[in-house]
Homo-oligomer: 384 residues x 2
């Protein structure tokens, strides 16, 4: 199979927007195309992610709409939806198309718009990503899902609310340096710990926000990448699932789909966690970051809270996690998040991340989680 590289990235500002998600995507895609220095006519397919367009914008079938707005109406388009991992899934399938030799240049990304919807409706639509038969009827929205995970982690490993708060403080500190981030404001441990409980033990500042935004990347074959001055290579891209039912999960303190997807991605890349210099991972809630740093192999099971407390995941620490600010500070437009994480890692591996740059980063990893931990995507990237 052929090697595949990212040669262009684009993001809208994350936050509140007054345009449709497809219009937001057109902005991000335009930026990615300019960044890639390719002719738009060279693009052979669109892999597009969006989650709640039907519920929130009365718009399904968003692939050709996004392509039409870009002036690329005649290329094949596919819409992907795997909850919050949506555009990471689109990316993985796009890698298949290019590595299989079907196309040399494809556009990948996603968009979401939810801030025009009343918050209780947005919460309801997000909950559609959990099981409608058993979990939605009892009111188990995502803060509740991750509160269960947090409680299990606290009981099993002694993780504390203060350790979780450290994740929020760190990601807000990073996000200050990201001009596209939704919240560019440092917070203190006290701010987190004194914020209102949303779902005990998770408080308001343990939770990522609702966000509008879009992200796009241009993915190309090795032949095309070689003509480009700064390709970032895709070393591996893997997916794993887990049971859709919370009541079937054997150990709520683990996300086994993360562990399995990571194992597969590391195998594809011929790398291990010790080779990774920079990570963008799915911190939808602070506990999610702690569990992910363990599942990805950066820390022993149960020690992710300690790592957060000791600053090992900060810029300048052992393994910098979420230099972009993560979902917590940068924001979480769910259909765009996977692609946005890839944009950050590409920027980092190019050495263009400015004040949030991880010095000398050569290998980066992205991790995106969908729904009640039932879908996980992990990809690895490297520079020449």
């Amino acid at each position: 199979m052929r090697r595949v590289a990212v040669i262009g990235v684009g993001l809208t500002r994350f936050g509140k927007h007054d345009r449709t998600s497809a219009e937001l995507f057109a902005e991000a895609a335009g930026e990615a195309i300019v960044d890639a220095e390719i002719a738009p006519s060279s693009i052979r397919a669109l892999y597009y992610g969006n989650v709640t367009g039907g519920e929130g914008e009365r718009q399904l079938h968003t692939g050709p709409l996004a392509a039409t707005l870009l002036g690329l109406a005649d290329i094949p388009t596919t819409r992907f939806e795997t909850a919050c991992a949506t555009s990471h899934a689109a990316f993985r399938h796009a890698v298949m198309e290019v590595s299989a030799g079907i196309s040399d240049v494809v556009l990948v990304g996603g968009a979401e718009r939810v801030l025009h919807i009343p918050t209780d409706h947005a919460t309801e639509y997000f909950a559609y990503c959990s099981d409608a038969s058993w979990e939605q009827p009892v009111g188990l929205t995502f803060p509740g899902v991750f509160a269960l995970i947090a409680r299990a982690h606290m009981e099993k490993h002694g993780t504390t609310e203060e350790q979780m708060a450290h994740v929020a403080v760190k990601n807000h500190r990073h996000g200050v340096h990201n001009p596209k981030a939704q919240f560019r404001k440092e917070i203190t441990l006290e701010t987190v710990l004194k914020s209102a409980y949303v779902a005990d033990p998770l408080k308001l500042f343990d939770c990522c926000p609702f966000t509008d935004g879009a992200a796009a990347v241009v993915l190309v074959s090795e032949e095309v990448a070689r003509k480009h001055r700064r390709p970032v290579w895709v070393l591996g891209s893997a997916a794993a699932s887990d049971t859709m039912f919370m009541h079937e999960k054997r150990d709520l303190a683990r996300v086994t789909a993360t562990e399995r997807a990571a194992r597969d991605a590391y195998r594809q890349a011929g790398k291990g966690p010790e080779d990774v210099n920079v990570v963008e991972l799915h911190d939808c809630f602070t506990i999610a970051e702690i569990v992910a740093t363990e599942g990805l192999g950066f820390f022993e099971p149960g020690t992710g809270g300690i790592a957060a407390e000791k600053g090992w995941t900060s810029l300048g620490g052992k393994i910098p996690v979420n230099p972009s600010g993560g979902l917590k500070s940068k924001g979480h437009p769910i259909g765009a998040t996977g692609a946005a994480q890839i944009c950050e890692i590409v920027t980092q591996l190019r050495g263009e991340a400015g004040p949030r740059q991880v010095d000398g980063a050569r290998i980066g990893l992205t991790h995106t989680l969908g729904g009640n931990t039932a879908t996980v995507l992990v990809s690895l990237f490297g520079r020449d």
Copy 2:
């Protein structure tokens, strides 16, 4: 790239069901797995199509749910949505995974459940597959879209309402022999022509029904297929898009995405329309079948109506179209339709279609259209 074959097919009965779409899919997938004579544990990925699950069942993120119900919770799953072409898109991406050598055995299909929803709501949700900015606000639901196409075809080519009625009569005649079909009842030209106008010139019997149902196929590499007694080979699978906006389409009497997807699929297969023995195509409205038979190259532009009138597309005719009964008689569970068409073609190429068998069929084609003709998928199949 490796050759890919279908070795198992499964369908629920099409019509009204009292189970969720994911439960319907589990039934179809179980049938496909039994038909393929493989161990479920050999399946390495699920490619799953569903369109209105969010709106109608409060259920997004349906990939891992479907896999969980099948007892395959840990395999990678992806949900696809490209309007009515959804599970055909899933199929095309699954072909990439197997042909690229990533997996040897994958499960593909889709499901839809809408008959528990009031009809006006279902009509609204379907309309989300057309543009929300310009078309939904003026009430342009799909009967209206295809009425515009019909009117253009009538004006340009002299196609008549009676010719369109012939498509309905023929597909109902075929559907009588399909035990899975929603309507197994012959109708007359008079029934069609005297039925109420839904969107002039389209009458009730020019329209396919709302349907619940699911379909699944097992897709495998050549190595696995060679151990199987009756593989059906995928000779080509192509997608094309067109502008999302009806007001931008230059000629409403044509579906250019059909023409471009067909050209690509024929090129991949090294075949032409003259080689095809049996066709399942997207007859959501009778005019859609007429335009598709032209776009796929079976008849000259403008002569599809004459072909229908003369019976050239009937079983026993020059090129039998929709021996299953098509969307018109078999039914149209939109997320399942693309996969269901493939099930029929595989059954035909195996010579197992009973009283609706196309004698000696060696090459088959499926064609699925999404939304207001903005997405089209075409695949070609052959037997040894």
